[in-house]
Amino acid sequence: MKKLIKSSDTLDFIKDGDTLLVGGFGLSGTPLTLLDEIADSNKKDLTVVSNNLGEAGRGLGKLLLAGNLKKAVGSYFTTNRDAVEAWNRGELEIELVPQGTLAEAIRCGGAGIGGFYTKTAVGTKIADGKEEKVIDGERYIFEKAIKGDVAIIKSLKADTLGNLIYDHTGRNFNPLMATAAKTVIAEVDEIVEAGEIDPHHVVTPHLFVDYLVESKYVKKGGVYVESV
């Protein structure tokens, strides 16, 4: 199975200064094992695109504390106190993007579309400096597509080809990010033989997925804890 790699191999695909798309909504649907590898490495100046920065000291929060990050692009950072403090000290750049704009920008990035006009944020501070256009009598602003060098995503189950399914709302940004980066690495809880996932149920077709990594976390009481 050529797609399966060790979690530490992930680091071979990430260069200093890269843009990383990181799946998840808070800690839900987040590739915790891959993030641990990056936090333990000396990668630096990374830009991460993710809805949040995990939680303080957890998920992407670990990369912040480890000094891997230059910039965060996402919709909600106030729930991670470390992110607020790092921004205050001038150690972290933040680009705030409305959640729907973030999702659509990544979708466009993966679909070969350069950008799009949206009504979201018209007339707000987030629209400052952005092109405005009236279409059929309504005001829209232009938002550019988002692409990454590497996407790290989290899936519940993969088959050996790399077809993916997700755990409930753990799906969130993961399928979009799978389409929008040069290299896509999926952390998975379980790998089954090709053919064992009903084609009707496949959410991310295997062509989008370059590598699979087995998660080192197991779920206990509904929450991921590191396995021994």
Binding site: Q99, R107, T169, G222
Partner: protein, 213 residues
Amino acid sequence: MNQSDRVKIAKRVVEELPEGAVVNLGVGIPTLIPDYLDGKKVYLQSENGLLGIGPTPDEEHVNMDLISASKKPITMDTGASLFDSADSFVVIRGGHVDAAVLGALQVDRYGEIANWAVPGKKILGVGGAMDLVAGAKKIIIASTHQAKNNQPKLVEKLTFPSSGVRKAEMLVTEHAVFKFTEDGPVLIEKLSDISMAELREITGTEFKEKIKI
């Protein structure tokens, strides 16, 4: 503000939700609404990719991958569906949410909303607030009449950063229900014993009255 006032607001908002509506609930008072539907069937949508939020699970059935947009554990209602964030915002931005019930820091006399940032404080979170304001078919603001510092929420002009040019249709507080028009707010119902003079006193802008009898 006491819990019974918050419940009163939630119950009054429920009256505005049509049977079978697709509804998105913001943080704060709107989160009380599922407990006061009183048999009315609505489909609750969550930004992170679910239509059909069910009751809160007991501790044994918590799954961190089945959560609300506020990152609280939830369950799925019968007939629920799951989708990714892009499709979830197709629902929101494409005008497929029948009603969004949102909290607000301020609302101006025409229904323009400020619900994401406080002036002079760092602005590091917006979430789906602006998408809902731009895209929902109907926006109902569910809020206390005054902020904690007794400043009115319904104001002449926003002093907090706007969430978008799209206006809310309605404001429900513990004292009153307002509809927004091009001429400003219209009081359509009083929900407490407050006198009209007192209500005008604690409201930050002029309003007309068109109370149903």
